[in-house]
Every structure is written in C-alpha cells, then in structure tokens.
C-alpha cells in the first residue's frame, strides 16, 4: 500500500503531459495526502485537547488567586501610605529588609533573653500545646458527663456561665500565686481559656447524638464499651473537633498577651522586647508571623474535622 502511494506520488512528475493519467493521479493523490494528514493530525489534536483543559485550569486558578492577591496588594498599599504619612511606622520595604535579616537565622541563642524568632514561636506553641492538652484532658470527659447527665449539666451550668466571660488574663495573677513561676502561669491562662469551648461543645455533641443511633444500640444490645467506641465517640467527634478548633484559636490569641505580662521566651514577650528596643519593623513582622501560625493551626484542624465529618442521611 505504501509502495503504491509512493508510486502515485512520483507519477505526476513523470507523466505530466498525459492529461488522462494526471487526472487519475489527481484522484488518487488526495488519498495519500489525507493519509499523511491523518497520521499527523492526532498528535496535533491531542495537543489542542490538552491546551483546552489547561487553559480552563489556569482560569480556575486565576479565579482563586487573583482576588486575594488584590486584597494583599490593597493591604500593602494602605500600609505603605500610612508609613509615609506617619513617619515612625516602618513601610513594607523596610520591614521586608528586616525580615530577610531576621529569617536568615531564626534559631540563634544568645542567652535567655535574646533568642531567634523561631525559638520564640516554638516556645509559645509549646505553652499553648501543654495548656491546651490539659484542657482537653479535663474538658472532654467533663463535656461527656455534662452531656450525658442532666443533673451534672444543671449543676455546672451556672458556674460555667459565670466564669466563661472572664478574660483569661484575669486568672494570670492566680496562676502566678499558685505556681510561683511565670511559665506555668502562662500555661495556666491557656488552660482556662481553652477549657470552656471544649466542655460546651463536647456536651452539646453528646446531647445531640441522634436518638435513632441510641435505639440501634439498645435493640442490638451493645455493651456499654461498644456504645461508647462505636456510637457515642464517632457521633460526638465532629463537635469535639469544633471545640478544639475554637479553643486553639482563643489560646493563640491569649498567649501573646499572657507572654507580654510574664516575660521569658515567646512570641508575645518578643513583641514587647522589640517595642522596648524600638524595633517597630520587628513588631510588624511578629504580627504577620502570629497571623500565619494562627492560620496554619486553624487550617490544620479544619482539615482534620473534614476528615471526620460524616454525611448522614
């Protein structure tokens, strides 16, 4: 077949003067041409096909990225404007230079009061972790008790209502008095502010376990342990995770203020220290760092919560 095609391709060149033969060649020629087209078109078309979705992909990406980008530009613009007008607030350029220097070595240690920003963030996170961990240890079982027993709920309701609106910083002096040290006192404030959302959300989760599921447990005659592990815990888990997310959010808010008061190593203390050194650009950097860490914590917990949310019905 290909040999024939070759012959036909050669044919017109040789027998040009004979009109009949050229006509025959002309009818055959397009076939070879088509064929060559056919072999060459698929890759070309595939290329186009890839280009289509890729374009769409870019468009989707642009839709996601462009508005936040404009938002950030607006923020930086206002910031620059304010910096120029006020004179003593560092602008984005100055802050950027300072940040480059700061993040070149985030983990240095020159004595207890002069450590890299990395260490400060980590020690704040550690305090939050410990305070929050204790709060979870106490709050989640408390929540289960309050959710399960109406008596307990009514007993603790006034106490919680009374104490919940109190700023956790008001508890700091009590912590200092009891623990005689700054560090556990800061952790203590975290404990106090984390425990309320944990108790309340867990209790609500327990109360909202659908009666149907509990009826299933009763009809199947499941043991108490099975009821807790297979029904109660999975049903309450999404509520618990909401409590945890709220707790961590508040804890991260509170730790900055608590550390400003207690001192030591920590991002809050660092902010205060840099204020005393009049390095305002470092304070601005700290604001961004605190924001980003908070955002990361929130996103992480949202992802965990998503994993454990069950579409029921």
């Amino acid at each position: 077949m290909s040999a024939l095609a070759l012959k036909l391709v050669e044919a017109p060149a040789k027998v040009e003067p004979v009109p009949v033969k050229t006509a025959a060649a002309a009818t055959e020629l397009p076939v070879t041409v088509e064929r060559s087209e056919q072999t060459s078109t698929p890759p070309a078309r595939e290329g186009q096909g890839e280009g289509g979705p890729r374009n769409e992909h870019f468009r989707d990406l642009a839709k996601v990225l462009i508005p936040p980008l404009f938002g950030m530009l607006l923020l930086i613009g206002i910031w620059a404007l304010v910096a120029i007008k006020s004179g003593n607030i560092p602008g984005p350029d100055k802050t950027w230079d300072a940040a480059l220097k700061l993040f070149a070595d985030p983990f240095y240690r020159n004595g207890p009061n002069d450590q890299g920003i990395g260490w400060n963030v980590l020690s704040s996170l550690q305090r939050v972790g410990i305070g929050f961990g204790f709060a979870a240890l106490v709050g989640i079982p408390m929540g289960f008790l309050l959710g399960r027993f109406a008596f307990m709920n009514r007993m603790f309701e006034p106490i919680i209502s009374l104490l919940r609106p109190v700023s956790p910083l008001a508890w700091l002096p009590i912590g200092l008095l009891v623990f005689q040290k700054a560090d556990p006192a800061a952790t203590w404030t975290i404990f106090i502010c984390s425990i309320w959302p944990m108790i309340l959300n867990t209790a609500q989760g327990v109360q909202r376990v659908p009666q149907d599921y509990l009826n299933v447990a009763r009809v199947l005659g499941l043991s108490e342990a099975k009821v807790i592990t297979k029904i109660l815990f999975p049903a309450v888990l999404p509520y618990m995770l909401t409590g945890i997310r709220l707790s961590i959010g508040t804890a991260w808010l509170v730790i900055v203020a608590a550390e400003m008061l207690t001192g030591g190593v920590g991002i809050g203390f660092w902010v205060w220290d840099e204020w005393n050194n009049l390095k305002v650009e470092h304070i601005v950097i700290a604001i961004f760092v605190i924001g980003m860490v908070g955002l990361a914590l929130e996103t992480m917990l949202l992802m965990i919560a998503k994993r454990f949310t069950y579409e029921s019905r």
Binding site: D212, V219, L220, G221, L222, K230
Partner: protein, 290 residues
C-alpha cells in the same frame, strides 16, 4: 430483573415446601402474647392515654401488620414489643418471657434505616452479627454471615460503601439485612418503606416477601399503606383512632404464597381484602379534617 429474582426465589420456595404457605394453620404456637396492654404518657397537660386494652397473639412464622391513621399508637405498640418502652398496664410476653427491654432476639428495622454513617454497610451489619454470634463463632464465619445477609437483599456489590454513598432504597435494604442477619425470633418493622418512592417501595416489598419466605421469619410491621399490608401479611390488625386507641378489627389474608404483585392485581380476593381495610379506615374510623 426484579421479577426474575422473585421467580427464582419463588421456585426455590415451592421446592422447599415452605411452612409459610400454611402458616395460620400449622404454626399455632404464639411467640408474642400481648395481654390487656395500655400505655399512658404523662404530659404537661395531664395524662394522655395512647393505647388501651390491647390483646394480640402472634404465631411463629406469621406476618402481622398494624395499620391505622397517624396518631393511632401503632408505632407505640411496636416500641412496646421491641422493649424500647414499657407498658403502664398489662403484660407483653416474647417466647414465654416478659419483655423488659430491647434485645437482639427482637430486631427492629427503623423507618429511617438508622445506619451508622461512620461505618460501611458491611460494618453496620457486622455490629449486630458480632453481638449475637460473636461468642460462638470465629471471625470468618461471622463475615460469611454478613456477606450472606447483604447478598440476600442484593447489596453485596456495595458492601464496603458508606451509607451516604448509596441511595435511600439501598440503605433500607442494608437495614433489613442487619435485622435479618441477627436471626431474630421476631422481626419488627416500623414503616420500613415509608420514606421511599413508590417504585422503590414496590421493589423492596417484593424483596421482603422473598426474604420472609426464605427465612420463615415472624414479622410485626407497622404500615399506613393498605396495598402493602394486603400484599405482605397473614393478618392485618386495624387500629381505632387515638387517643386511647385499641385494636378495632383483624383481617385474615388467606392469599397463598408466594404472592405475585401482578397476578394479585387481577385477583378479586385481593381487591376484597383491600376494600375491607379501606372500609374500616375510611368509613368507620374516618379522621375528621386533620
């Protein structure tokens, strides 16, 4: 597809010479005895009597449906048999023993399937199977039981799917499989097909008829669908309107099994039974403008 499956199971039943066909005559041993049962709830506006003077026996292998207008306490009665609530007067016996609470020998198919959303279909059925047979049998045998139950309701293809990944009709099939897999002495169904569309409901009724024939289960079912009652039951217990509802009349459905939906549609006896139930519900117990 559906009809084929039914024919297959129908043939199997015929060859097995099921007890079912002659259930009212052969199986006279009552598994459930309900004696003078009444149920009163105390509400804010005083005492509310839901049920009074209920007397009913259910024989082994019998299929009984409870029918009545909404609010007539048919679900209350079913809950009493299930042991989910206890009567304020009278006595309920299951297999000679007083019903003091729920138990796996009286499994329930709930109206809204009540599958646990964090478990696959397989795990949902396994939960009950493990509870009933876990002590006597090894894991492979338990797994085989679960697989067989899901196979019986034609859900073997979706064994490892989560409830939210399957349709409402499929969920109810799994709910039925869960109840049957426990091999209960008595199967209780609370409007099992109430939340389904008409076509799915018909398919599931046929399926249930097949499963009941295959297992020879004793069933008490609450329904508000007259056709469903006639199609599935040996006896239709019709309840008077609440409050203080009681059993009004009982219709014995003497249609031979297996029953075919299409054949019955032509059968005058089917129409007569249907008419009898409608007569009771809409002439004698008509609910005034709800």
């Amino acid at each position: 597809m559906k009809t084929n499956e039914c024919e297959v199971s129908a043939q199997a039943n015929a060859s097995e010479a099921r007890v079912k066909g002659a259930s009212p005559a052969v199986a006279n041993k009552p598994i459930v005895k309900i004696e003078n049962v009444g149920q009163t709830f105390s509400t804010k506006s005083g005492k509310f009597t839901a049920l009074r003077d209920i007397n009913l026996d259910v024989s082994v292998g019998e299929v009984v449906t409870l029918i009545g207008h909404s609010g007539c306490g048919k679900s209350t009665l079913l809950n009493l048999i299930a042991g989910l609530s206890l009567p304020t007067s009278g006595l309920l016996l299951c297999d000679g023993r007083e019903i003091a609470g729920p138990g796996p020998e009286r499994s329930v198919v709930f109206q809204n399937h009540s599958l646990l959303p964090w478990m696959t279909c397989f795990e949902n059925v396994m939960l009950g199977v493990e509870r009933v047979f876990g002590r006597k049998e090894g894991v492979p045998k338990l797994k085989a039981r679960v697989a067989a139950a899901l196979d019986m309701v034609h859900m073997d293809h979706a064994m490892h799917k989560y409830p939210h990944e399957i349709s409402g009709g499929m969920k109810q099939r799994v709910g039925i499989a869960r109840a049957f897999a426990m091999e209960p002495k008595l199967l209780l169904m609370d409007e099992p097909f109430g939340a389904l569309d008409a076509l799915t409901r018909a398919a599931l009724q046929d399926e249930l008829n097949g499963v009941m024939a295959k297992t020879g289960a004793t069933v008490v079912m609450v329904t508000h669908d007259v056709d469903e009652a006639v199609l599935l039951s040996d006896r239709i217990v019709m309840m008077t309107n609440g409050p203080a509802a009681t059993i009004g009349e009982i219709v014995e459905v003497k249609l031979e099994r297996p029953r075919d939906r299409l054949e019955l549609a032509q059968d005058t006896r089917f129409a007569d039974y249907r008419a009898a139930v409608f007569e009771f519900l809409y002439r004698k117990q008509l609910k005034r403008a709800a």
